[in-house]
Symmetry: C2
Subunit: 249 residues, 2 copies
């Protein structure tokens, strides 16, 4: 089990500072990505093409943040040769940035749909679902990052569990929109833009779940991917001290 205090146990103050830096850079990137999700959904629903354009431009910043954090991780691996929980921290960070970058990509795609919908005129259906699912996945992203910041495996577990709800709601929304397309074929193109946006949101939920699974790996030392939610829950709740401070091998 690791917590924030274990970051300050190094004899080398410099090493402590590097670990704390890269972790705070990840969280800063996460904060910006979370804002992108929110802005992309707002741009779509409010038909705000200016805001959508802004989301697309900020995506470059996110890509740059990914590169920088990656370089920090490589530098720490090369110079500090971290072990045990420090190594898990670096691995979790270097994988989480991939998911954050892809959440940024999906937000940018939603913004592109928003721009297309602005050009084509307003689509009367699907916005309720976009707002609803959008709010939920934005919260998933936020909580996965909170779990990372606080080394909170329980919160991470609840994020992973919540992904099931998103998948179910996404499928329900999709069925309704397909029915709507059949009733009004002239709306097909516009409704497809809503469907693509919903699909992006569903994927953002998947990426938030991935980050949550990395938090569990970081804190518990267990790789819980592809494990099923029941076993994941056992790992988090039942065997709190298993894995301990050793690397997962």
């Amino acid at each position: 089990m690791i917590d924030k205090d274990s970051l300050t146990h190094h004899i080398s103050q410099q090493f402590n500072a590097e670990l704390e830096d890269v972790r705070s850079h990840l969280l800063a990137m996460g904060g910006l990505v979370e804002k992108q999700v929110n802005d992309a959904v707002t741009a779509l629903i409010d038909a705000d093409s200016g805001l959508a354009q802004q989301v697309r431009e900020i995506d470059d910043q996110i890509n740059q943040m990914e590169r920088n954090i990656d370089e920090e991780c490589v530098r720490i691996l090369a110079r500090r040769q971290p072990a045990a929980s420090d190594l898990r921290l670096i691995i979790s960070i270097s994988k989480s940035v991939i998911d954050l970058e892809r959440i940024g990509d999906e937000s940018s795609k939603i913004a592109r749909r928003a721009i297309q919908l602005c050009e084509e005129g307003v689509s009367p259906r699907g916005y309720v679902e976009v707002r609803h699912i959008g709010d939920q996945v934005r919260r998933m992203v936020q909580e996965s990052l909170d779990a990372f910041a606080r080394f909170d495996a329980d919160l991470a577990l609840s994020v992973a569990q919540y992904d099931k709800t998103i998948d179910r709601e996404y499928k329900t929304a999709l069925r309704e929109l397909v029915t709507y397309m059949m009733e009004d074929p002239r709306a097909i193109s516009r409704v497809l833009n809503i469907i693509w946006a919903l699909r992006s949101l569903e994927r953002i939920g998947d990426h938030a779940r991935n980050i949550a699974e990395l938090v569990i790996y970081l804190v518990r030392g267990t790789d819980v991917r592809h494990m099923g939610l029941a076993r994941m829950q056992e790992e988090v709740k039942g065997t709190a001290n298993k894995g301990g401070d050793t690397p997962a091998n």
Copy 2:
């Protein structure tokens, strides 16, 4: 610049063997994933629900391979503290498995569409595009892995460049299928299954491109993501010795 020979330069025979093992495990996983792409497309086009079911079952094996390779990478990082090109090799492998696992996921999704299409009856349109784009992305996956096996940055560059062609063909196919849905709204649900399959193929192309970019990072020491194809080409063709055998920092 690194090549296969540089894997055999270690004083520790055991370290050499570990690096060679993890690399060959990645390539074996890649071979299976490539077969999954091919089988999923064949299952869709031949309406072969048995083959589709098989693709879905094999996906578990791929997930397990990802876990195993990840564990090997963590073990090598913890025990061997690799530097320079060895570190880049481990980083490239641990990121490539993520892309391979997602290619496996997308193949599994295509197989699910195949099963749905078998149940709903034959869809008359879109198969030509699926076959055509499917063949191309399968080759992209294969060549990205060949590039990894041979440390071939030029081949990796050509894979990354080819992704543009896939994106263009995907968009053309999508426009045609949308037109077809408008003409025959009763086919909407079936055509959507074809569209989802095409979208999965387009994403597989993206993942192959990611792997190709990791090969360039491995061989040249330069992070070429988000760089644009022109600059990427300069990095590969023009500055052959830049980066050399030092880590990318």
